[in-house]
């Protein structure tokens, strides 16, 4: 414990200095601070001003501008939380962090403040990934899901099954209509886990059962999903280069008109509509393919606000959370910054639809959202999957072997970390 405290010391000092800088303002009002990645603090500056004007003398909200990088901001938050005295009342969290933070006892359940009625306002996908162990620990701020982008000038409708995708993409490549069929994220990093989860769902498989800590990665469905991805590369439906593609590389290829299909997140839509995009006006949004009879899946991204257990201003912090996730805030964030809303009725809102005609497609995807395994050990388990899959794509070997190794390594990892079987 001593060592942890010592390690965390530096980060805390830095945060406190930041806090002092950001703090200031009136002394009587209750001070509430929220740590967010810089992209979100920048997109919320106007909202904070309005909030502070409306709550003058009562609450003063300040946002701590954290690093942009997802992992850096988590490291910063964890360092100060390990010390037991974090200088922020709430934290904007990625969906994959929640189980870890909740299990560590750092979060205050939000159940007293948000009820069933609030939940029902949310679009299906935004209701996921906020709970741990039967308690609500996070209120969504933006929604994010994986999508299949397709070229409306090259096909009449997007492929719905794995076979249809291979058929249409293969045909377009063989006839030299496009250079590449299907581009996705095959690099050894978190994006690969997201892509795999979608395909796994489409083949009727599951990553793990978190209630019993049972891994399900050597099942026929999981092996078939891995084999399908591997065959995409070996049969030329996807270029070999996807083994080193992240989102940016896939988008670059698709935007240049060099691919018929792409797996990516909602942000890509706006990029594809810019003037420098070769495919502007020829892009449709659909869901990742699924075997006949299976439900397609869209991996849930999404950020949300959590309340810190040790916050001295919990009531005031929740008021700020409510404001930052309100309908007004969602509308403003969508129109100004393109962040996908979380409230169901906003997806049919005329003003919103005018700004983006693909909102109904996003809604459809959010209704098929799947979450990555909600376990505190997710980061390590995901690392095993990324390594084995990328190894399968880039070296000789069979999907059978790769998935059985993945299964074994994941189980050893769970046992070593003290998971109860």
């Amino acid at each position: 414990m001593k060592l942890r405290r010592w390690l965390a010391g530096g980060a805390l000092a830095l945060l406190m200095a930041l806090g002092v800088l950001v703090g200031s303002a009136s002394s009587r009002a209750e001070e509430v601070s929220i740590l967010m990645p810089s992209s979100f603090t920048d997109a919320s500056a106007d909202l904070v001003k309005t909030f502070n004007r409306e709550h003058r003398g009562r609450i003063h909200l300040s946002l701590i501008r954290g690093p942009l990088n997802t992992e850096s901001i988590s490291d910063l938050a964890i360092s100060s939380l390990l010390l037991g005295d974090a200088p922020f009342d709430a934290l904007l969290m990625d969906v994959t962090w929640l189980p870890k933070y909740a299990a560590a006892g750092w979060l205050e359940p939000l159940d007293p403040w948000f009820d069933q009625g609030d939940q029902e306002q949310l679009v299906q996908g935004a209701r996921l990934g906020n709970d741990y162990d039967g308690h609500l620990y996070r209120w969504p701020l933006v929604a994010d899901v994986g999508l299949l982008y397709w070229r409306t000038d090259l096909m009449d409708q997007p492929p719905a099954t794995p076979d249809a995708l291979v058929e249409v993409a293969g045909r377009l490549v063989n006839s030299e209509t496009v250079a590449n069929g299907f581009v996705w994220q095959g690099r050894q990093y978190e994006g690969l886990s997201c892509d795999f989860l979608e395909v796994l769902q489409g083949f009727g498989g599951h990553w793990m059962d978190t209630t019993t800590n049972t891994m399900e990665l050597d099942t026929p469905a999981a092996t078939a999903a891995a084999a399908w991805l591997n065959d995409l590369i070996s049969e030329g439906v996807s270029p070999y280069a996807v083994t080193n593609y992240a989102e940016a590389e896939s988008l670059q290829a698709f935007k240049a008109g060099d691919a018929a299909l792409m797996r990516n997140w909602p942000y890509a839509w706006a990029e594809l509509q810019k003037d420098d995009s070769t495919v502007k006006g020829n892009v449709g949004i659909s869901l990742m393919v699924a075997q006949p009879g299976e439900r397609p899946g869209a991996t849930l991204g999404s950020w949300g606000l959590s309340l810190m257990r040790q916050s001295q201003h919990q009531e005031a912090a929740v008021e700020a959370i409510r404001y930052l996730t309100s309908e007004t805030a969602q509308r403003q964030r969508f129109l100004n910054n393109g962040y996908t809303p979380i409230q169901a009725d906003l997806f049919n809102d005329p003003q919103m639809l005018k700004a983006s005609p693909v909102l109904p497609d996003l809604l459809e995807a959010l209704n098929h959202a799947v979450v990555r395994p909600p376990t505190p050990l997710y980061a390590q388990l995901s690392d095993v999957v990324q390594r084995e899959l990328n190894g399968l794509f880039t070296a000789a070997g069979s999907a059978d072997e790769a998935m059985s190794t993945t299964q074994q390594r994941s189980q050893t990892l769970l046992r070593a970390a003290g998971a109860k079987p």
């Binding site: 964890i78 390990l82 050894q188 505190p376 070593a416 998971a419």
Partner: protein
Amino acid sequence: MTMLLAAPALLLIAVVFGWPMLRYAWLSFHADSVLTGLEPVANGGANWLRLAADQRFWLDAGQTARFALISVSLELLLALAIALLLHQRWRGRGAVRALTLLPWALPTTMMALGWRWIFNTPYGPIEVLARSLGLGSLDLLSTPSITWLVTVFADVWKTTPFITLILLAGLQSIPEDLYSAFRLEGGTPLQALRRVTLPLLLPYILLSLLFRLAQAFGVFDLVQVLTGGGPAGSTESIALYAYLNGMRFLDFGYSATVMLAGFLLLTAMILAGTLLLKSVGLLRPLDR
């Protein structure tokens, strides 16, 4: 009597070194993660089984050894040349001696941040220079086969002065008379270097090697700031992996296992090196 006099030093070593090591060893046989409520629970060696099959650990171990061996070798060669130069008498030597020490005096994080900007794509000066020469984009910090060389370069730049300092002290301890006698016997300067300087400098060389190998094998701050272990984990070191397990994954049992395994590997490496040097008779001057 000897033991009595050594007791304070031994006690200090036991407290600052022995105790943490024992604690790590104990922790490595326990699960201590969020799943156990951050409390240690015995797990019957499961951490070590996991480590044995953990590709990431072994890859990191290889990368760490590669980094340590190559950067320390380069540093030694460079430092020897610089020390010999700084040992000669010439105008302005004092100022140059002070200047050469400068990289060593800089905090590692500062200089790593500096290099990160210098090698940045597309705005760093190196990249701009390459483009103006028509070489295209170098992507020095995002190409797995190249980026580890950048970390070696930064380490060499930073720690060569440290070895230079030790070797310079060694050079100054060699009596001038020996050289005069050697010259009198008809030896050339080059022979003097081989027959007088190097043998007498050997203890200092070995000492600095030991210091630097241990330090380079535990490299953390340089990599954390310069590359964060990337791209694609190609510069991740054992210490960084241990840090990630503890601070990011909140798995302190496994973090201790990784750290301890790194220590054991380093010990094995130094032991092997010592035996090798002994077998070729290079360690004899130290047995005095």
